[in-house]
């Protein structure tokens, strides 16, 4: 499928949300929610197609996300850097972000996080495999930075509803 159609669809979605909500913060929240709903479904597709087993620690999770998941769905491989000393926080550096091809943010939408859908997707997907994470954009090429940086922080392991045999 042509990736331009995907870029156009995402763009139409964001602009319509901006028209509907008129408030950048609200749009960011909606994008995150939509991303979350995508993430909880996408994880099963990812697990079914990649046959990857459970990751042993957060470092392995980061590698799988960057090298397998991003490659499978967006065709890009971000690099994993900036590990915190405790090993519970890292950054994904994206050289190019397929969602923002051809996009320029106007001045009146300076607080809009255009690709916030990605944060929701990552959060939703990891929640389904019992990991609570916080995902945010640290740098965004649309807002003047050189690269797009997504910062992911491990909050805790979700102990409720653990599948049997996973203690």
């Amino acid at each position: 499928m042509n990736s331009e159609l995907f870029t156009l669809t995402y763009g139409a979605l964001v602009t319509q949300l901006c028209k509907d909500y008129e408030n950048d913060e609200e749009v960011n929240k909606q994008l995150d929610k939509m991303g979350y709903n995508i993430g909880v479904r996408l994880i099963e597709d990812f697990l079914a197609r990649s046959s990857i087993g459970r990751c042993q620690d957060f470092r392995e999770t980061a590698d799988v996300i960057a090298k397998v998941a991003f490659k499978m769905y967006l065709g890009v491989t971000p690099s994993v850097t900036n590990w915190s000393p405790a090993g519970d926080e890292f950054s994904l550096i994206l050289e190019n972000n397929p969602l923002v091809d051809f996009v320029e943010l106007p001045d009146n939408h300076s607080t809009l996080i255009y690709s916030n859908l990605l944060c929701g997707v990552l959060r939703g997907a990891l929640e389904m495999v019992q990991m609570a994470v916080d995902v945010r954009f640290a740098q965004d090429t649309l807002r003047g930075d050189n690269v797009t940086e997504i910062r992911m922080k491990f909050i805790k392991r979700i102990e409720e509803n653990l599948p049997a045999g996973d203690e």
Partner: protein
């Protein structure tokens, strides 16, 4: 018909999908005249044979239909109590079909929840740390295979013991689930799956698996 049924159980242990692929072989339909020489009794909301085994009608077989109309638990299709109906000579001659009672959907729901709990017990009984739950259950008539995904969904397949390739089939069913159930935006997670495309693709996957597995069974 080497693959008998497929069950899908959600994270909480509830049955969200069930498909039966077998034809009950032992069904007998006979015409009777008054008085009925087979003794029937109520058992578990069904009417079953308790005495008078003959001609393929065995003790334990349930009344499946009367005069062609499927019965509804203890009552006929019209709502009359079966035992009362059969005591009345004016209703004879009557044609009754006996057979092994099929599981009702409530029973299947209950059994799926029970299996969900047993699956967890399987991992707790383990002498080694980090064991999975029950992956296979074998009887002399069928083998039950179970695959639990990292997200807690269980795919259960009941098949002939000689059928091979069930592991690959379980992965394929996972793929079909992630495609036709999850990518359908109108399907809510953890709810019963009512997607036609899922049904169709599941049936074709079962057919392919049966044909592929039959090289070893020769049946």
């Amino acid at each position: 018909m080497a693959i008998f049924s497929v069950y899908v159980v959600n994270k909480a242990g509830g049955l969200i999908y069930q498909y039966d692929n077998y034809v009950a072989k032992a069904e007998v339909e006979k015409t009777f005249s008054y008085p009925l020489d087979v003794v029937l009794k109520h058992h578990d909301e069904k009417v079953v044979v308790s005495f008078g085994q003959r001609d393929g009608i065995r003790v334990g077989h349930a009344v499946l239909s009367i005069n062609g109309a499927d019965v509804n638990g203890k009552n006929t299709a019209e709502g009359k109590d079966i035992l009362e109906y059969l005591k009345d000579p004016s209703n004879y001659p009557v044609s009754i079909r006996f057979g092994r009672a099929r599981l009702s959907s409530n029973e299947k729901l209950m059994l799926a929840s029970m299996f969900h709990s047993l699956f967890a017990i399987g991992s707790q009984l383990s002498p080694e740390v980090g064991s999975s739950g029950i992956e296979m259950l074998e009887t002399d008539v069928f083998k039950l295979h179970c695959y639990q995904t990292l997200t807690g969904i269980k795919f259960i397949v009941l098949a002939d013991p000689r059928q091979s390739g069930i592991d690959a089939l379980l992965r394929k069913i996972y793929e079909i689930y992630s495609d036709f159930a999850l990518k359908n935006p109108f399907y809510s997670l953890e709810m019963p799956i009512r997607c036609e495309l899922f049904d169709q693709n599941l049936k074709s996957a079962l057919e392919i698996a049966e044909k592929a597995g039959n090289f070893g069974t020769g049946s």
